[in-house]
Symmetry: C2
Subunit: 182 residues, 2 copies
Amino acid sequence: MDRSESTPNLTPTSFLVLGMVGHLGEATSYQMKQLVGATIGGFWPVPHSQLYAEPARLAGIGLLDEQREAAGRKKRTYRLTEPGRDALAGWLASPDEAGGELRDESLLKLFFGAQAGPGTVATFARRAATSHRDRLAGYEHLVAHPPVGSDLHQLSILALVCRYEAEAIAFWDAVAVDPDLA
Amino acid sequence: MDRSESTPNLTPTSFLVLGMVGHLGEATSYQMKQLVGATIGGFWPVPHSQLYAEPARLAGIGLLDEQREAAGRKKRTYRLTEPGRDALAGWLASPDEAGGELRDESLLKLFFGAQAGPGTVATFARRAATSHRDRLAGYEHLVAHPPVGSDLHQLSILALVCRYEAEAIAFWDAVAVDPDLA
DNA sequence: GGGTACATGTAATCAGTTACATGATTTA
DNA sequence: TAAATCATGTAACTGATTACATGTACCC
């Protein structure tokens, strides 16, 4: 009964951090924050406080190497250790049990739409459509002007997200037109 | 500066509970669990423990009326109070700031796909496609055999979810075929 | 009458959020 | 040199998850 195997308590956020560091080679918390904001932040948000706390924790477990600047700012730069690289590789190769979650509060509202008036439904449907349009525009801009250092896998994800946004727009437009039947 | 107005500390889960109770007229925690499992549970999971804890809390705040069975099982049945109905209506009419999150661990993995081998990417792309296919089948079954008491709004959401699943399947199939370029 | 699935809760822990705080650069 | 913004963290709280625990009904 070996109990020291596998991941001790690594969350998706942990792997997000490991992946970011691996992708960048070396990174400060701020750089990760930037990268997240520029890419997956739109559909997988991570508050910056976690991007400071989590790398520190991972360094404590030995999955990251923490290099502290001596000079004034004393910022911490992280790099993958071998165990860290292994953990990342293991996660990448592991199957995901839980299918993706589609947490959209508007969807929840629509689910209870019968308890609101049709006018209310139409109103937030219009708002939702607008909001998705904005997001789609943002993603399309990203695709058109990819940040330096992004690779094809990363861009391909944006393709899926764009398709989803397009569906969402069509959907909410339809709901706005016919709030009762959708 | 009136500070007693509006929602004190109501989370999406709170409104989910309020909505469920409103939809059912009256409900026990278990009934909510059933309903969640049969409908939104696939993309907006809620652990059953919350469906016991949260109604109790809401009853404490006065948004739900809790009726305790005298007999053996002593189960608690909830019903909306007027304030509860107001809170629900207010939420339904309020705009959502945060756009929906698309938390899918597979997406995260693909994002870091360049750090895994193409073989690895292809493997989990195939798995992801399969998983989405299963989910799509499940939703389509739901649409074909709607549970009693479901209304059109609720079914319409399933339509969107189905479309999203279809996109996801197409996407992951493409990735599986061409893991490098996607 | 013994097992299995249904039903109903509680307790402990923790990841993640929110809020607080402040130093370093740039800009006007 | 004041304001604004960029950059870097820490602290407190809490909603949610995980795990525990037990009763009841049905089925074989």
